[in-house]
Symmetry: C2
DNA sequence: ATGAAAGCGCTAACAG
DNA sequence: CTGTTAGCGCTTTCAT
């Protein structure tokens, strides 16, 4: 019993021979049954079942030059990206495509390898749910496969993009804190080299400047989007004197970490210190106190990205840049600045 | 630039012609460079880069009869399954395989279609992180591809399995509540038709019986593993008279829902009512009060499943049934029964 | 060290 | 309606 012995060894030829027919007829029963007489089709199907034949999709793909597979490349396996995937999955199913997901770990090298899978026709197209290094992508040569960027644009390649306006959303969130009377607002950002983090930090900076706040009092500390890094950043912020009265955090995970540290320090969140997160992940509404945060339509992003990809794969000109709307969801971690 | 027009359709033949060589030589540079002179190899690589050539993996797969791809089929896109995927991903990477993930939605039909992908040689093997309908699987014919079941066995097919002992773990959790003096212990289970849910419920029943508790006072209500269903189930349990003093819940999500309902009812969790969850997901430790729960080594399950699959694909006899250990993690939602 | 040629299993003209 | 045939792009003997 070697591995090969158990595999789908039977070929179409074997089925044809069993029936005394040509492989073309068997193939037609599988691909274009309307071209075959009902009686013949029935006989063929019976033989297929009886023999346990399975078509070799690799051969079919090679011949048809398409796979009906969409590859979704995600940088991390967090619930956030899962939501995007969920939306993509639903749209692909509607369109008769199968979604396979690949995990890049944010590693440009691995990201490139998955893109090669598409370039090499193992999938018809790809969605990059990530902020890829544009240089790494450009290095893959002039011949990019059908690719749609989701969440963040990939600079300089003119890739169709489905995203949210992180800069504007971060500004709106910061503005809200200003409206509440806060003057010393800190920002816990994501990694400096991640475009999404950069944009959210940029929005923060713009809002601070526009409000005319003292930039020196508005500290910025970088985390890495994990809860633990949010805790570390907040712990450092609490040592500043005077300490901030509000913190805008670049995602919900870090925001939860920040809230925990604030509470452990004996301070009251939403009163002593206000906190705003980003993404509106499930935990934002689940945690106590529930988190004021920026809602991002993750599933819609995935759904729309697939629709754009399907257009692109069909050779139709896709919209270059689709921006979905975010909104600030006000819950329990924000309140007026105490004077 | 002579290359610009190519648009990803370049074939090996085009590279060979550009160099005045045969395709065999180009192929060797890519697959078996040691058979080619260093000078030739360098020239070929230069041309490949210059022209932006990418090999067609579908053609290669067809010829080599292998893809080095492992398909991981998950029933739901929850963090729980993500953790399993994470472990699988790591192990596959070590072994030179690429993991692609497919989402079945628990739908046996779609599960079958993904299995067909493997049977049809689009992947070398698959891991079913789920509780598949054994009948649906058996119907795929005698020629099953290399498949390993993770989390739950698939009855009657003798599939290699990597799992935890849900029955024993559920018994241990329930026993702990008995030890604390609880006599009216309820169970919020998962869907009746999901084997994992069945096993956890079975363990609960065995523990209740062994402790000689009044079965009529130990209510069972089925949820669907979502937080909202845990809330609904707990709300109903609170209407029972006398109401339970402890609840064993089949996963952490539902347990969190249950805890929220208990608190909203003005009762104290861990004092008025004890709650035990299952899985030890991140939220179990994050939520306040932190959740007493059964730790499941999710990433290890994925890792071990891949290792078993690699063995199976190599034609080596894999272990039939690997059981990883769980352990009860005692946190804040459990306490002695009040007399 | 390199080239010529035979397929991998399937689909799609093109003929009957 | 069904059969014959020519590939899809690549790898791998078998020659040289």
């Amino acid at each position: 019993m070697t591995a090969a012995a158990g595999r789908g060894r039977l070929k179409m030829k074997d089925v044809a021979r069993d029936l005394g027919m040509s492989v073309a007829t068997v193939s037609r029963v599988l691909s274009q049954p309307e071209l075959v007489s009902a009686a013949t089709a029935a006989r063929v199907r019976e033989a297929i079942d009886r023999l346990g034949y399975r078509p070799n999709l690799t051969a079919r793909d090679l011949r048809r030059q398409e796979t009906r597979i969409i590859l979704v490349v995600v940088p991390r396996l967090s619930p956030f990206f899962l939501d995007v995937l969920r939306g993509a999955e639903a749209a692909a199913h509607e369109q008769g495509y199968t979604v396979l997901m690949a995990y890049s770990g944010g590693n440009p090298h691995r990201e490139g390898r998955f893109l090669d899978q598409v370039l090499s026709r193992r999938a018809d197209g790809a969605i990059l749910v990530t902020s890829v290094d544009a240089a790494a992508l450009a290095a893959r040569g002039p011949a990019l496969p059908p690719v749609v960027a989701a969440l963040e644009p990939v600079d300089g390649l003119g890739l169709p993009t489905v995203r949210v306006d992180n800069v504007a959303a971060a500004m709106a969130a910061t503005d809200y804190l200003v409206t509440l009377g806060h003057r010393r607002i800190a920002h816990i950002s994501g990694p400096d080299d991640v475009p999404m983090a950069q944009h959210r930090a940029e929005g923060f900076g713009l809002a601070i400047a526009r409000a005319g706040l003292d930039d020196g009092a508005c500290h910025r500390i970088a985390g890495d989007f994990t809860l633990a890094s949010g805790e570390r950043a907040m712990a450092r912020l609490l040592t500043r004197n005077p300490r901030p009265t509000a913190v805008f955090v670049a995602n919900d995970e870090m925001a939860v970490g920040a809230v925990q540290v604030i509470r452990k320090a004996g301070l009251t969140v939403g009163d002593d210190i206000s906190v705003i997160g980003f993404d509106d992940q499930r935990i934002a509404n689940l945690y106590e106190p529930s988190l004021t945060t920026v809602h991002v339509p993750t599933a819609d992003l995935g759904h729309e990205a697939v629709m754009q990809l399907v257009e692109a794969m069909a050779g139709r000109p896709a919209a270059r840049d689709i921006v979905l709307t975010t909104r600030l969801v006000i819950r329990d971690t924000t309140g007026p600045a105490r004077t």
